[in-house]
């Protein structure tokens, strides 16, 4: 038991605490990642497949057959009555009866009660959820807008916040602590409430309908300053003193010494910034009102009407926006998780 709480690197034999720990983790992965997997699978289902209950894990869809002279018909298996067991295409429904035909003998109509047939299903991924999304608008224009905003905002965020964090962690000057506290205090303001004043300001500055209208308000973040400052506090002052001895300028110290050493914390802020800007919806929605300046989330949401939501597109859209962040994370996950671990606390 003592080991359960204390051991970091340990012994060869497994005791029950090892089993419990691994069981906990496996269950945890199911709970943490299962829902995302479910979302991914559902996004491949057809409109009717999404609504089916009970739902299936894999994307099933009803089989259609081409019948001579009757076009594409949906295939059903008859479950009761004289035609039980046969697979027939449905021509039309008449009240409580359906008219079916055998694809091999399309001339004769077969009448069966509605309850006596079940659809024949097969596995088919509904890629048209995705292609349908893309064919509706100039996808690459919106992708470019999103990438531009995300990339530029992230670079500026890293620069501006790391400069501030450098000063706040490595200099002593009057007003330093009040400035830091003031920045942290802005965390307390609910973001929705500054939306309207921010728009009025952006409009005065001529930033509406421009990617810069999304970028500028985002580059100074209290979280970023906080994270970087905490990390920079752990860097030994001796390094800086040594550089000063060598007559390096303060700017040089900042960007040649402190910045490279803060790489893990910068990686963390980078992934957060990428995630924030890439997913950002509310502010771009207000500040960008011309379709040529839309970001991807805005364009992808355009099919959300007042009265209707198309779930198949909604799910596909969610997956599309999720993908880039997931891929970046998959490549950088080691740096990111370690970066947070080391930046989070001093």
């Amino acid at each position: 038991m003592v080991r359960f709480l204390t051991r970091t690197r340990g012994h060869a034999a497994w005791d029950w605490t090892d089993w419990a720990a691994h069981l906990y983790l496996v269950l945890g992965v199911l709970v943490m990642f299962g829902p995302v997997l479910w979302l991914g699978m559902s996004s491949l289902k057809s409109e009717s497949g999404i609504q089916a209950f009970p739902p299936t894990f894999l994307p099933y869809e009803q089989v259609s057959v081409d019948v001579e002279g009757r076009g594409k018909l949906k295939l059903y298996r008859v479950t009761a009555g004289e035609f039980a067991g046969r697979e027939l295409g449905e021509v039309r429904r008449m009240g409580l009866q359906v008219q079916l035909v055998d694809p091999a003998a399309p001339a004769t109509l077969i009448r069966v009660a509605v309850g006596d047939r079940e659809p024949v299903m097969h596995l088919r991924a509904a890629w048209d959820n995705f292609t349908g999304l893309f064919s509706q608008f100039p996808f690459f224009r919106y992708l470019w807008n999103s990438v531009f905003i995300t990339a530029v905002a992230t670079v500026l965020t890293l620069l501006v916040n790391s400069m501030a964090a450098f000063a706040l962690s490595k200099y002593r000057f009057a007003g330093r602590d009040p400035v830091f506290l003031l920045m942290l205090a802005t965390l307390m303001i609910p973001p929705t409430i500054v939306l309207v004043p921010n728009y009025l300001i952006a409009s005065q500055l001529g930033l509406t309908n421009s990617p810069w209208g999304v970028i500028w308000p985002a580059v100074a973040t209290p979280t970023g300053v906080f994270l970087l400052r905490q990390y920079m506090l752990t860097l030994p002052d001796e390094l800086i003193e040594a550089a000063r001895m060598d007559n390096a300028s303060e700017w040089r110290i900042y960007w040649r010494i402190v910045l490279p050493l803060s790489a893990p914390a910068l990686a963390v802020l980078a992934i957060f910034s990428v995630m924030w800007r890439w997913n950002e919806f509310l502010w771009p929605m207000v500040v960008l009102s011309r379709s040529e300046s839309f970001t991807l989330p805005l364009a992808l949401n355009a099919f959300q009407g007042e009265l209707t939501t198309q779930w198949n597109y909604l799910l596909a859209m969610t997956v599309v926006t999720l993908l880039p962040v997931t891929v970046i994370f998959a490549f950088l996950q080691k740096h990111i998780t370690q970066g947070i671990a080391s930046a989070g606390v001093k």
Partner: protein
């Protein structure tokens, strides 16, 4: 420093987006294919009017609902926007009368709905064009009625008869509930007016709670207790609109109070999975009415090209173009002349029958329903009804408390809007 250059570039980038002469921007949202259809017509318009450039910005409804008022307040925003919520943007709308070719044509054909975009009774301006007329009506799963051996209530049947029939179907076919209503104050208003609700005091000020309103609210809550009515739709969502289309399309309810905008979904998602028909608006002692509604293209004062805005809307409003537009979007026209004609909709036989039933329901609409829909205070009233009635339905407060709250909420909104 490079940052200053970037800032300068940013300001330049912002100032470039000034509208060029002859350009019209339309902020558009879709419940179906309304924006795409308008784009098709706009392309044709631009061929004949080469000096005008119409750009349609397709955006989420939320962007228009929440972003547009802010943009307009700051003196920005599009020339035209498609919206259902005219109240918050009324102070920015443009009276098109001086620019229109023939405003008498507009009055004659769009008369009843033009009032919806006006500030009050003394206002005679023309502020925009309705992109469709929607009519709320009961949608019926006839297959379930047939299986239960219950006839679908005919025109003139009362709400009590409809509720009893729906309950009977539910019991016989073992579905959980007889009927469901969209979670919407506008949907609720039709039945309430039928029961005798007036929504306005004698002096014209909003006044929701009266005996007619109480008669419907009491029934509504009672029905939810014995599973005649599905509670979930109203209770489960905290704020705002929610529909029950999925319940209906999955055959879990027999009667669904919704409206004509569901036509495309009925065709596409139900198809022939079961037989669906549009019922005639159920009656109360005062009327047999649903609620009219719909989205409209409104023009804004901030537009630099008001003449071109009017030209484009004139083009869309012309009878032949408007008819084509309605066919493309499978919508019921707001044009009085076209309402009397059978348009060549590209729909299944069930869909065609449904359009006709919606048309029949349009003829039943009470004048009060039109007036209520167009009143600037209608949405605060609808909102208060939805919030408070669902609270009463969830058991959190009593119906009497709900009535008091509705009255207070509406009074509060009226006071705030007068400031």
């Amino acid at each position: 420093m490079s940052r200053i250059k970037i800032l300068a570039a940013a300001i330049l980038a912002g100032s470039v987006s000034v509208a060029t002469a002859g350009e019209i921007r339309i902020a558009c949202y879709s419940d179906g294919n309304e924006c795409e259809a308008t784009e098709t017509l706009a392309a044709r318009f631009m061929k004949d009017n080469a000096d005008v450039k119409v750009t349609i910005d397709k955006m989420p409804f939320k962007a228009i609902q929440e972003g547009l008022p802010v943009q307009l307040a700051a003196g920005q925003g599009p020339d035209i926007a498609r919206t259902t919520d005219f109240g918050p943007i009324m102070r920015y709308t443009l009276d098109l009368t001086p620019y229109l070719k023939d405003s008498a044509y507009w009055e004659a054909n769009y008369g009843p709905v033009l009032g919806w975009m006006r500030k009050d009774a003394s206002d005679h301006g023309i502020y925009g064009l309705m992109t469709q007329l929607t009519i709320s009506a009961p949608l019926v799963n006839k297959t379930l009625f047939d299986q239960a051996g219950v006839p679908v209530p005919k025109a003139g049947a009362t709400w009590d008869e409809w509720a009893a029939a729906a309950k009977k179907v539910a019991t016989a076919t073992k579905i959980p509930y007889g009927m469901a209503w969209d979670r919407s104050g506008a949907r609720f208003a039709g039945p309430a007016i039928s029961m005798g609700a007036k929504y306005f005091a004698a002096d014209g000020t909003p006044s929701v709670v009266d005996d007619g309103f109480k008669a419907m609210a009491q029934r509504f809550v009672d029905w939810s207790k014995d599973n005649t009515l599905e509670r979930d739709v109203w209770v489960a969502a905290g704020g705002g609109y929610r529909d029950a289309f999925e319940e209906f399309s999955n055959g879990r309810i027999a009667v669904y109070l919704s409206g004509s905008w569901q036509l495309t979904r009925l065709e596409k998602q139900i198809g022939d999975a079961f037989e669906w028909v549009v019922g005639s608006a159920p009656c109360g002692p005062a009327a047999c009415t649903g609620m009219p509604g719909g989205a409209g293209f409104v023009a804004f004062k901030g537009s630099k090209n008001p003449k071109d805005v009017a030209r484009f809307l004139d083009y869309l409003a012309a009878e032949s173009v408007y008819a084509e537009w309605m066919v493309m979007t499978s919508n019921v026209p707001a044009h009085a002349g076209l309402q009397k004609k059978a348009l060549p909709y590209k729909l299944s036989p069930a869909g065609i029958a449904a359009v006709q039933s919606f048309g029949a329901n349009a003829a039943l609409l009470s004048p009060l329903a039109y007036r209520l829909q167009g009143d600037p205070m209608s949405r605060p009233m609808f909102g208060a009804v939805v919030d408070r009635v669902s609270q009463a339905m969830s058991g959190q407060i009593t119906l009497d408390q709900a009535y008091a709250r509705i009255t207070a909420d509406v009074a509060d909104a009226v006071a705030a809007s007068k400031k």
